[in-house]
């Protein structure tokens, strides 16, 4: 089997005495949606920070398209096709929605006109078509999540790291955005998503990694992971697995 688009091996990151990410090895296969779940504080966002280059690792290796990128700065990783969204949305608040997306579009389009055209296409794709001229800080939470997605998409990534794009959305909003994510995958973008909305992540992902206290405690197909004793205990506490009659 060919190497995965993204292969993280034995990645470790300490913050003082805290092992935020502890010898984690995960992979994202091309063209698939990979889920990354785990209780709060498990180190999921830190792991994304490591993959996107915001945080340098203490140990371990990150390979992308067969090349080691462990020491590359963030912007060069973006150029190679790794885009991320932020869990805590980071809009360019003083700019309009279109201007926000254009910043991403400029990565592949030097000319202003091309970038503007590309931004409009992406904006419509994620359902912001009617709001392109609104200031970004007037968007609702759902709108801001879409904007995060649009900006990342505008960089025309091969690998998209989605950090809780569904968090804080109501069920209707989630129902609206799930097909958008699925369509991106169908278009050939490899997606790795951190998500707490289990229904969505279970239905979208083909493969799921479970992170708890900095370590991968389980991986596999969604159904397999959901039935895993270690996973249930990590989420619900010691002894919970027995109560729910999970497989060992």
């Amino acid at each position: 089997m060919a190497e995965s688009l993204l292969a993280v091996s034995n990645l470790t990151r300490r913050f003082g005495g805290l092992l935020a990410v502890d010898g984690v090895s995960i992979a994202a296969d091309e063209g698939r949606i990979t889920g990354l779940i785990g209780p709060n504080g498990a180190g999921k966002t830190t792991l994304f920070g490591l993959i996107s280059g915001f945080i340098p690792p203490n140990e371990g290796d990150i390979r992308y398209e067969g090349e080691t990128i462990t020491r590359l700065p963030t912007h060069e990783r973006a150029r190679l096709g790794i885009a991320r969204t932020f869990q805590i949305v980071q809009p360019f608040a003083g700019l309009t929605v279109r201007e926000n997306i254009v910043v991403g579009a400029h990565l592949r389009h030097r000319s202003r006109a091309d970038a503007l055209a590309a931004a409009d296409v992406v904006g419509r794709e994620v359902g912001l078509g009617g709001m392109l001229d609104r200031p970004a800080d007037t968007l609702t939470v759902a709108g801001r999540k879409r904007l995060e997605l649009a900006r990342a998409l505008a960089t025309e990534p091969k690998l998209l790291l989605l950090d809780e794009v569904l968090a804080g959305l109501n069920p209707t909003e989630i129902r609206e955005i799930v097909p958008v994510i699925r369509k991106l995958c169908d278009r050939g973008i490899t997606i790795m998503m951190i998500e707490h909305v289990m229904q969505a992540v279970m239905s979208l992902s083909e493969h799921i990694f479970v992170l708890a206290e900095g370590r991968i405690i389980a991986e596999g197909a969604p159904a397999q992971v959901a039935a895993d004793r270690g996973v249930i205990e990590a989420y619900l506490g010691h002894g919970a697995a027995k109560k729910f009659g999970a497989q060992a």
């Binding site: 973006a78 885009a83 608040a93 970038a115 505008a154």
Partner: protein
């Protein structure tokens, strides 16, 4: 995309002023106003568009002024190439300070303080180094010929500074319409988010600082030619650093015309204050302080922001009426 038509219009109107106004005092006032606007435009590129608040733009102003003067006085270089080299030297100083500060990851008030420190170090060096004339300063020989970039008529000087200002306005507009500008503004709004989108924040800030320094240095070069005298207090004193940041903030930081509007307001108020209260020392600084407080309290986006904001509210109001 915004065009350069408004710039042409404003410059054309300003160019016509000496045809109507012949008073040397008035022209002198306008020359100094445009000079301040030019220095402010330099600050505006880095501070207004890039969000990097420098407190030390005198470092570039002074370098431009000194290099222009010293090349002529000590090395016999003609004023025209001297002027160009002065701009280049200012840009170089900007690039060096930028490389050091941005590489060290300085942001916000740390960046402001370190730029101020650089300007102060240059001021102290200039006040003792023999090449700058130390405490005495450097006097350029009077030679009222165009070949020496000196003019008998104030009006010609006025047109020279106007051309420089026009170029700086076009540079600002061009930045707004290019990828570099989009990235620069993105860095101002949120540097981390910009980096995630592939923006090399270091390179963008360094580029902005170099352009910014070159423009403010041009104001310094012009100062040397106009007054034919430079000393360390004039060149590298905090007064220039303050005026360079005050004018765009009052006029509207991150707008093409902000520095020009700010310079007109600040300089006019300074004149009025002098007229009313006599030439009390430090009076202009008090006026600047009051205007700055008022602007930050009531028009945080500057006078231009106040006007465009009102326009937008009016338009929205009309739309709502039309829909309702």
């Amino acid at each position: 995309m915004k065009g350069i038509a408004p710039i042409l219009l404003v410059v054309a109107v300003l160019a016509a002023v000496p045809l109507v106004v012949h008073s040397n005092t008035a022209l002198n006032f306008l020359v100094i106003t445009l000079l301040t606007a030019l220095a402010g435009q330099g600050w505006n590129i880095l501070g207004g568009y890039g969000g990097q608040y420098s407190f030390g733009h005198a470092a570039f102003f002074g370098t431009g002024a000194y290099v222009t003067a010293i090349l002529q006085v000590r090395y016999g270089v003609n004023a025209w190439p001297g002027f160009a080299i002065g701009i280049a030297a200012g840009a170089l100083v900007g690039a060096i300070i930028g490389a050091l500060t941005f590489r060290a990851g300085l942001r916000g008030s740390y960046f402001a303080l370190v730029t101020l420190a650089f300007a102060e170090v240059l001021r102290i060096l200039a006040s003792v180094a023999p090449v700058t004339g130390a405490g005495v300063g450097t006097l350029i020989k009077l030679d009222l010929h165009a070949s020496a970039l000196q003019f008998e008529s104030r009006a010609v000087f006025y047109w020279v500074i106007l051309v420089l200002l026009a170029v700086s306005l076009v540079i600002a507009r061009t930045i707004e319409n290019t990828r570099f500008g989009a990235w620069l503004i993105a860095v101002r709004e949120n540097e981390d988010a910009a980096r995630a989108l592939g923006v090399d924040a270091f390179k963008v800030k360094l580029g902005a600082m170099t352009i910014s320094a070159a423009i403010t240095a041009a104001a310094g070069c012009f100062y040397a030619q106009y007054f034919l005298f430079v000393d360390s207090g004039i060149a590298y004193g905090t007064r220039m650093s303050i005026e360079a940041l005050l004018t765009p903030i009052i006029g509207g930081a991150g707008t093409v015309f902000g520095p020009l509007v700010g310079a007109l307001v600040v300089k006019a108020l300074g004149e009025v204050a002098t007229y009313v209260a006599g030439d009390a020392p430090g009076l202009n600084l008090i006026v600047y302080g009051c205007v700055l407080v008022l602007v930050i309290a009531f028009a945080p986006r500057g006078l231009i922001g106040l006007v465009t904001g009102a326009g937008r509210r009016l338009a929205r109001g009309k739309r709502e009426v039309a829909h309702g």
